[in-house]
């Protein structure tokens, strides 16, 4: 770089300065030659010394004046220029940096723009698809409307169809219920009848073994036993027939107090049961079927006695609210668990080894036939209260 600067400076030197320098050297040399010719002879070393002294005396100021001084000036300038140049380079660098930053931000902008563009395109797509969807939805709606219309058209048919199926199912249910009731009844009856039948066959076998001459007394005992077994079977048969028959009450004005007393006489309490009766004084005339009411009471009383195998108390009383006549049977027996209460009025529901479970079913049937009802309150271990409610105007 410096070499270039020097070259440049030299090239810039004025041509006349160079000529002046050369001429001054030329004159100095001539002067020296002339002096040497006219002067006494000098030794050669003195000539060289004089010559070079003269030369340096003349040429150096010229050189300094015309060559070095502009050169150094130029060099300073060039140093300045370099500095400026460096400065410029730094600035350029900075500018370059700025530029790259600008470029970067520009790129960022471009990226953002692209992103936005993509988003825009996406949303555009969504909008388009939404439009499609709404078209589809509209189509579906019309289709659904059509279907609804069609369904509406067939609805009545369908309802009729379903109703018929339901009816059939119900009929089937009733049939199976009836069948299973028949099955239960059959098994219950079979069991009821098989015990007296066993008694009869056993008696027959026993009589066969007897010697008529020796065992007369035993044979008599056994004929009595046979008769009792036959009447037991007959009783079971008539109970069943009685239950199966739909009985319309033969109502007649009846003295209820008298009817209750007569019924209680027919069902005397076991020895360990104390019976108490609280019946209003004065005749209560009610229009009822006396036989049926007596049967209701008989069943309730029998159940009460059976619920107190270890003894207890039975209270029978009447209450009259004007509209309703109530006959209450309250025992101190085993009681009925709450969850069993709804089922005890069903036919064939029994907890007794020898029960047919018809008692309360008959009670309900007869009470309802009179326009009345039966209600129960019971506590396990404490006792039960059965209430027969009859309308006073019947």
């Amino acid at each position: 770089m410096i070499v270039m600067q020097i070259g440049k400076t030299i090239r810039q030197l004025p041509f006349k300065l160079l000529v002046v320098t050369l001429i001054s050297i030329f004159i100095a040399e001539i002067f020296v030659m002339a002096v040497m010719d006219y002067l006494p002879v000098w030794p050669p070393w003195a000539v060289y010394l004089f010559d070079s002294a003269l030369l340096s005396f003349l040429v150096f100021p010229a050189l300094y004046l015309f060559l070095f001084s502009p050169l150094t000036r130029h060099m300073g300038e060039s140093r300045n220029a370099t500095e400026v140049l460096l400065q410029k380079a730094v600035e350029l660098e900075r500018a370059n940096q700025d530029l790259s930053a600008v470029q970067k931000s520009l790129e960022e902008k471009v990226r953002q723009f692209k992103e936005t563009d993509a988003k825009l395109k996406e949303s555009q797509k969504v909008t388009l698809s939404l439009l499609d969807d709404s078209n589809e939805a509209r189509e579906q709606l019309t289709k659904a409307k059509e279907e609804l219309q069609r369904f509406n058209d067939t609805l009545e048919d369908k309802v009729a169809e379903k109703m018929e199926a339901l009816k059939a199912a119900q009929e089937k249910l009733v049939r199976t219920a009836r069948l299973s009731a028949v099955g239960q009844l059959a098994s219950s009856v079979a069991h009821e009848i098989r015990n007296p039948l066993t008694g009869l066959t056993n008696a027959a076998y026993f009589l066969e073994q007897c010697d008529p001459k020796e065992d007369c007394a035993e044979m008599k005992k056994y004929t009595g036993l046979i008769q009792r077994q036959v009447s037991l079977i007959n009783q079971i048969a008539s109970d069943l027939l009685n239950f199966a028959k739909a009985r319309t009450p033969k109502k007649e004005p009846t003295d209820i107090s008298k009817l209750i007393r007569e019924t209680l006489e027919k069902f005397p309490p076991p020895q360990n049961v104390r019976l108490s009766v609280d019946i209003h004084k004065g005749a209560h005339q009610l229009k009822v079927d006396p036989l049926q009411i007596s049967q209701i009471l008989g069943n309730l009383i029998t159940n009460a006695y059976q619920a107190m195998p270890k003894g207890g108390a039975l209270n029978v009383r009447t209450e009259n609210s004007g509209k309703e006549f109530k006959i209450v049977c309250a025992d101190t027996g085993c009681g009925i668990p709450k969850e069993r209460i709804p089922e005890i009025f069903e036919p064939l529901v029994t907890t007794k080894p020898k029960g047919t479970g018809l008692g309360l079913a008959i009670v309900r049937q007869l009470a309802e036939g009179h326009g009345g009802k039966v209600e129960v309150e019971s506590q396990v271990g404490k006792g039960s209260k059965f209430m027969l409610k009859l309308p006073t105007e019947g």
Partner: protein, 133 residues
């Protein structure tokens, strides 16, 4: 074996129906068996503990316990007792009680000959148990 040492056959009859148990009792008494009749499972268990019965005729439907449960309990007290189950319900399967050790399962009304045949079959295995005639 001398005749005198032969033990009299003991039969326990358990049925809640009074007529069924007394008629059965009379029949077996007449044939020379020692018989005892009871109406509940509790009484039956007491009897079994007191006396070494050879046979027990058990009704399946008893007021205090099922006959099959009673059968198991009796066999716990004395597994030598030959138990015969009787029932009025024909729909019951006899396998249950036979599995638990009953000798037979009969339905009411009973065929007495059948019952007696079973007695004879079982006593022929056991020379101690013979009807005392």
């Amino acid at each position: 074996m001398p005749q005198e040492t032969r033990e009299i056959t003991k039969v326990l009859i358990v049925d809640d129906d009074e007529v069924v148990r007394t008629t059965l009792g009379d029949i077996f008494k007449k044939r020379g068996y020692y018989t005892k009749t009871v109406g509940t499972a509790a009484e039956a268990l007491e009897e079994v503990k007191k006396n070494p019965y050879h046979f027990a005729v058990l009704d399946i439907h008893l007021p205090d316990k099922s006959g099959t449960d009673l059968l198991e309990e009796i066999r716990k007290v004395n597994f030598k007792i030959n138990c015969i189950m009787i029932t009025g319900y024909s729909e019951e399967s006899p396998e249950d009680s036979l599995e638990k050790g009953a000798k037979a399962h009969l339905t009411k009304p009973l065929k007495i000959e059948e019952l007696i045949k079973i007695f004879q079959r079982e006593t022929s295995h056991d020379p101690d148990a013979r009807p005392h005639l």
